[in-house]
Amino acid sequence: MLTHFSAVLLFSLFTSIVFGITQRAQPRMMIRFGAFCFAIFVGSTIVVSWLMYAVKH
């Protein structure tokens, strides 16, 4: 069974691959944009999670 965080990682990975391929024309830029999207997805999830933790405590 997936944990919440592993679900986030899979969602971010698959979505970033599609965004990278479809939103850029050059292969090098596809990889860069895909990595950027992945970092933003995972990073923002971690930041928002800590914010929710801070609100609760």
Binding site: L2, A7, F11, F14, T15, V18, I21, Q26
Partner: protein
């Protein structure tokens, strides 16, 4: 100066052709098939794996498979998103995969995986269409 043979091979702006529509339809029905038709097999494989992965995770988490039977607007929106999965959506309906209602928290995540997977497949199909009609540069 282009030769006559080169002029025939070049795509004429505004030219009517059924190939881009075929690519769009194939890309919608089978994830990555549109890119395969335009010769981008690496992209096709990555798109297939990614969208199939979203689908399998969604099914595995017992995500809800939407239908039009309830008539509620949010269900219709979910149905429209999941319809983007093409034949994968039909397969889930025929095989009765997924869930009719969400009963666990992770099931709600599964529903989101399925809806987003469908929307990503539509984006991929439109991208393949843009490659086929020359609107997007083919690198």
């Amino acid at each position: 100066m282009a030769t006559e043979a080169q002029q025939i091979a070049q795509r004429v702006p505004g030219e009517k052709s059924s190939f881009p529509a075929l690519v769009l339809l194939a890309g919608w029905l089978i994830p990555g098939a549109g890119h395969l038709l335009v010769g981008k097999w690496v992209r096709a494989a990555l798109l297939f794996v990614s969208i199939l992965g979203m689908y399998l995770v969604g099914i595995g988490l017992q995500g809800k498979i939407y239908s039009t039977s309830t008539g509620e607007i949010l269900d219709l929106l979910g149905f429209a998103g999941q319809l983007g999965l093409g034949l994968l959506y039909v397969l889930a309906r025929v095989m009765s995969w997924g869930a009719s209602t969400v009963t666990i928290a992770l099931g709600d995540y599964g529903t989101k995986f399925l809806v987003v997977g469908g929307l990503l497949n539509l984006i991929a199909a439109v991208d393949a269409h843009s490659l086929a009609n020359g609107r997007k540069a083919s690198a």
